[in-house]
């Protein structure tokens, strides 16, 4: 049975003047997924999240939260952090979160839980302006957690966090995921995304270049490094080899290859041997989200 649709984006386009930030983006997040939205700076991640959270107007296209047109009712079910933390500087952390409990019509007892989760309970009566940037980011995460929302939308949540905060955030995401929450996360830290996300979508220049389960994106494709004394024939065979999806020259003799799903290092070695070339080096490397990402960005 298909999981409940949480967020569906259809042909979303956003122009900033002449610049097209999003170009007909389609994306689907289902219940219980931890969806990593990846992409280089300016690829449209924050623009996408801002539009779905109602703080930026789209040029064209639609998005649906919980199979409905988005509105304030859907946002009440979502905890979100987009870009930097924004609170009233003259209010205490407690009062800033009180505003959220009133908006979401929740009991104020929720505040201590959220502050406790993010290690800010001792600072609850400090004014927001007195916090360091790392603590401000922790407060933003606390604000996301207020009311135990069904969906978390986190745009670069690790920004300004120290290693301890980073680790705490990973624990929070894992705990929330265990509760069956849907989490949409954008981050530059691909290693973290690979550890916590079940699904990823990779954006490039406002378009989704790949999307799917992390394991599917990484499985079936292997990265190998090869070298041979016969550089001329090796280069010629690389273009013809049926097992290679992409390759790039590392130095005068060495190549980095991305094998397709049909290929394996053993078959590659056999192919070259059958063509009369002995590979002097054949090293297999585990494919990571980072290497996949870097390949896609080329």
């Amino acid at each position: 049975m298909a999981s409940e649709s949480i967020l569906e984006i259809r042909n979303l386009t956003k122009n900033y003047g002449r610049l097209r930030a999003l170009n007909g983006l389609n994306l689907h997040v289902r219940q219980g997924e931890i969806y990593g939205l990846l992409g280089p700076n300016g690829s449209g991640k924050t623009t996408t999240l801002s539009i779905v959270m109602g703080i930026l107007k789209e040029t064209a296209g639609d998005c649906y939260w919980f199979d409905r047109k988005p509105g304030y009712q859907s946002r009440l079910r979502i905890g979100s952090l987009i870009e930097d933390p924004h609170f009233y500087p003259y209010l205490t952390l407690y009062d800033n979160l009180r505003i959220i409990t009133w908006i979401k019509e929740l009991p104020e007892s929720q505040i201590n839980y959220s502050l406790g989760m993010t290690g800010l309970l001792k600072r609850k009566y400090s004014r927001f302006r007195t916090l360091s940037s790392g603590l401000k980011q922790r407060l933003a995460i606390a604000a996301v957690l207020v009311g135990d929302p069904e969906v978390l939308v986190l745009d670069e949540p690790t920004k300004s966090l120290d290693p301890e905060g980073f680790s705490d955030l990973r624990d929070i995401i894992q705990k929330e995921a265990e509760k069956g929450k849907t989490i949409i996360l954008s981050s530059h830290i691909l290693d973290e995304v690979e550890k916590v996300c079940t699904h990823v979508g990779i954006l490039k220049s406002g378009e989704l270049v790949t999307e799917g389960k992390v394991e599917d994106i990484l499985s079936g494709k292997e990265v190998v490094f090869i070298s041979s004394e016969d550089t001329g024939n090796t280069a010629r065979l690389l273009d013809r080899c049926p097992f290679i999806e992409k390759y790039e020259k590392q130095d005068s003799r060495e190549y980095k290859l991305l094998l397709n799903k049909k290929g394996s290092p053993a078959e590659l070695n056999k192919y070259f041997f059958d063509q009369g070339i002995v590979l002097s080096k054949l090293v297999k490397q585990k494919n990571t989200l980072e290497s996949e990402f870097l390949q896609l960005m080329k």
């Binding site: 703080i55 304030y72 924004h86 009133w102």
Partner: protein, 270 residues
């Protein structure tokens, strides 16, 4: 609505800007009222002392309070522009409010500020009338009190106009300067140079005219005119009479300011 009231209360009443501007408003009003009361001046039937007695006090105190409406307008601009400065409107949209909620919250705050100003005028008038009067309080002392209600409408109108400027410019300095420039040279230039045939219906002119020069001043100005001593006050006195029509137009202006503000909010990205 209850949640919006609580949200506005938390963020506004803790703001130092709110406390400082409101304190200045209170202080300036009381200082002017007290300072003028010390002037001993009488010309025929007119005397400063009589302005502080029932029933003149209602009209006079409303008129004095209207001088400081600009401070209330500036307060509204600061409160709204700070929401853009701190990106808190944006945060509240993400948390589950919509543009209508944002506007309703600010309308609530405008009404609260207008009620404070109304209360200030009513209490100060009662105190002044009671101290300076010789008769015990009775219904006759409340004759002419309806002008205080018009003053309430006037404060609402000024603050609605200020809210529109805040939404248009989003920046404290720019919105305040533009608001003041519009009220003083801006609209006067428009009225006198371009749209001379409808100058009575311009918003700032009409709204400021809701609390006209007190009757005693007008009578005095007319008598000065009759003996050949013409000056600007005398001319102003003849035109500064509130009609129900002006009150209705002021209400229409308030509705227009709020509608345009809502339209801007709906179109805005945060």
């Amino acid at each position: 609505m209850k949640k919006l009231i609580h949200v506005e209360n938390i963020k506004t009443f803790s703001s130092n800007t709110f406390r400082v501007i409101l304190s200045l408003h209170f202080l300036f009003y009381i200082l002017v009222v007290l300072a003028v009361s010390r002037i001993e001046l009488s010309m025929g039937a007119f005397s400063i002392g009589r302005l502080y007695q029932f029933p003149n006090v209602w009209e006079y105190f409303s008129w004095v309070a209207s001088w400081f409406n600009i401070l209330l307008g500036i307060l509204v601009i600061v409160l709204i522009c700070n929401e853009f400065r701190f990106y808190t409107f944006r945060q509240q949209i993400m948390n589950g409010l919509n543009e209508g909620h944002l506007l309703l919250g600010k309308i609530y705050m405008i009404v609260v500020i207008a009620l404070y100003a109304l209360l200030l005028v009513i209490v100060s008038s009662l105190v002044s009338g009671y101290i300076t009067g010789s008769e015990p309080l009775g219904l006759s002392q409340f004759a002419g009190m309806e002008v205080v209600g018009v003053y309430f409408l006037q404060t609402l109108a000024y603050m609605s106009m200020a809210m529109l400027f805040a939404m248009l410019f989003k920046n404290n300095g720019l919105a305040i300067v533009t608001f003041i420039l519009y009220l003083f040279p801006g609209e006067v230039i428009l009225r006198n140079l371009i749209f001379t045939n409808i100058q009575e219906y311009f918003p700032a002119k009409l709204i400021s005219g809701l609390t006209p020069l007190p009757l005693m001043f007008r009578d005095q100005a007319k008598s000065l005119k009759s003996i050949g001593m013409e000056f600007n006050t005398a001319q102003a006195a003849e035109t500064a009479l509130v009609t129900p029509q002006e009150t209705v137009i002021a209400i229409v202006y308030i509705a227009a300011f709020l509608s345009i503000t809502y339209w801007i909010l709906k179109r805005k990205s945060y």
